[in-house]
Symmetry: C2
Subunit: 391 residues, 2 copies
């Protein structure tokens, strides 16, 4: 019993964290409920029922299936559904009248053959990457509608009327869904992607700006503050991919125009993840066993400079992306980084030859600084992508 | 016109590559077409039509919606759909009879309130990670069925009969879908995950075994052979995640039992990706500008040993995973790696102190060997996970 109680408490905490993490999720749940309740009313009220008849449930099904968290995803599913229904409906009617030419006995066989053919083709097409990316839902609805129309044709008297009612109902449901998603507290996929990428850049900048200080035990480095880069490691490429896919469908909103170059964001996202992996490796060199050595002290100046300058460059890139302006000073910071790399190489050369230093002390320092050099290269790539984006 | 022709040719090549990449996709398309055509026949034949009446279309909808590429995904959607329909149907009937107690005028208001409540709760629950992972589709069907049943209640005379027919049709469609997915050339998600992870291990092993030779310009290193690790970089964590989610539903098949520890595979998958990122960094040191230097020659022996031994360890881990036996000799190879690391450190120490070597030549060599050390640590983690898996 105490285990069950424990499980229930856990579950409640889990639910609370889902809501606290993004309160718009509650708003979304209420929006969906509102949209569906609105459409259900059409089934209760006589004037609407006279228009749609029993096809009214298709308006409800449409809202329930089409309403997604972001505006873009809702638009994508709504438009996919509407066009797929229209196209498949027309094709289905055509197949039905073609099959009717051969008399009632042969008709089911011909229709069955068409169904087999269309289903096989549609299912296969969903494996093609470009179709999968944008029209996957449309393909599945196309297939389903074609089957329903051509199969119902043999049982329903006035198939044209049925098709007309159902299409009207689906368009009605789709429009209600899209309008509510668009007008009531809209959640934009594009804006979400933009904020996510900016946040990731800022997290990485925070680590790099602080790294030098912690590496030389000047500052202690807030643990929490320091683990922030891990969220970038865990941020999934697919989340960004699906946001970018949804954003493709969105009309202009806020600072973003229709057909904003969202794929550029994916490139920048990949760079930040790559950078986070390097940082993960760098983080290992903050462990106690690599406590400041004499050798480490000799390269203190260039090393501190590299980490703080690359951090500043990233910060500048993040804030210029946030404001959607061309980064102005990141170029200088990256240049400073490169000067620091030169300094580092000179210092290393001098100190190692002169001091006959302990080489076992030197190895982790050289390894750590090499990672910093890689991070700088990574940030330079990012900077180019962000510059292109701001054009 | 030549552009259009070009586009068409491109598209055809695209389609062909989709089929060639995995010919089972063609089989899958034919399987779906077969299942749907079979179920459609129930709509044409009188004896079946007498059982299902118009609810027969729900059998078709069910097959079309539930049939997925892998057995596990089909089982997951089929079971989700069946149980969600059953539960929501019962709840909907309950809500309908409860609302009927208050007379015909108040009834729609009470039903509307229930619909609002259930939709809001169900939509919110889909944000909870554990529910999203396994019951996302079930939740959406639960919501939809509840709405359909409680809304139809006000329009249909014999709601019990309708609910019964529809449930029978859905179970019939689900069973047909699952049976065909299971019996005709089944594609197992679990087996797919297993093969994917083993393949990734083998790709990494190939690179590491060959690395030493190419680094010292002993062998040329087939370019194609060497880029193989890139497929691991591009293999997405989410593909593995979704395969593991589907595999959770699968009954025992081949060498895998029901409830095989699929989550362990995800851990190993993360390790391989981590390792591939290190290899990406290591690959940079194969460039021309790091052509063999004098200093590099001094650490040749331990360096060659590290790369070949870690490669052998990975190969052994891959093949023991493939055969699902406990890795026997990987332990020895990892131990050899560690001995080589000691040797490397000693050699570095001696050579740097004795020769007053060129430190600029030494830095990339130390950096590259540090990455090798990190890879060895990574493989050790992997080896532990694979050992646990084999128990």
């Amino acid at each position: 019993p105490s285990k069950i109680k424990h499980d229930i408490v856990d579950f409640a905490i889990n639910i609370k964290s889902v809501a606290v993490h993004d309160p718009r999720r509650i708003a979304h749940s209420l929006k969906v409920a509102l949209a569906i309740t609105l459409v259900s009313i059409t089934y209760f009220l006589e004037p609407f029922y006279n228009i749609f008849s029993d096809a009214g449930i298709w308006a409800i099904i449409t809202v329930a299936m089409v309403f997604e968290y972001t505006v873009g995803a809702t638009l994508s599913k709504g438009l996919n559904r509407a066009f797929a229904t229209l196209l498949a409906g027309a094709l289905g009617l055509g197949a039905d009248s073609f099959a009717s030419l051969f008399g009632q006995t042969v008709k089911p066989i011909i229709l069955g053959f068409f169904v087999f053919l269309i289903v096989a083709l549609a299912t296969f097409s969903r494996f093609i990457p470009n179709i999968k990316k944008r029209y996957d839902y449309g393909m599945s609805i196309f297939m389903l509608t074609f089957i329903l129309v051509s199969v119902s044709g043999s049982r329903v008297d006035s198939i044209i009327k049925l098709a007309h009612q159902r299409l009207t109902a689906i368009v009605f449901g789709g429009v209600i869904g899209i309008l509510i998603s668009l007008c009531v507290l809209p959640v934009w996929a594009g804006e979400g992607l933009h904020k996510l990428i900016v946040k990731n850049l800022e997290e990485l900048a925070k680590f790099l700006e602080g790294f030098g200080g912690v590496y030389y035990r000047i500052s202690n480095g807030d643990k929490l503050f320091f683990d922030s880069y891990k969220s970038v490691l865990n941020s999934k490429a697919t989340d960004e991919q699906s946001l970018a896919n949804s954003a493709w469908w969105e009309i202009g909103h806020g600072k973003f125009q229709f057909r904003h170059p969202w794929t550029k964001y994916l490139e920048i996202g990949d760079c930040t993840r790559q950078c986070a992996y390097h940082i993960e490796a760098l983080n290992g060199y903050l462990e106690e066993k690599y406590a400041p050595s004499e050798f480490q002290e000799t390269v203190k100046e260039p090393c501190m400079k590299m980490s703080s300058e690359v951090g500043k460059a990233l910060k500048e890139l993040g804030s210029s992306m946030k404001l959607m302006i061309c980064p102005s000073s990141s170029y200088i910071h990256i240049k400073n980084c490169k000067i620091a790399i030169e300094e580092l190489n000179t210092t290393l050369k001098v100190s190692m030859v002169a001091d006959r230093c302990d080489v076992l002390e030197a190895i982790p320092v050289i390894a750590a600084t090499s990672i910093l050099v890689e991070i700088i290269a990574c940030v330079e790539t990012m900077s180019k992508a962000i510059e292109e984006l701001s054009k």
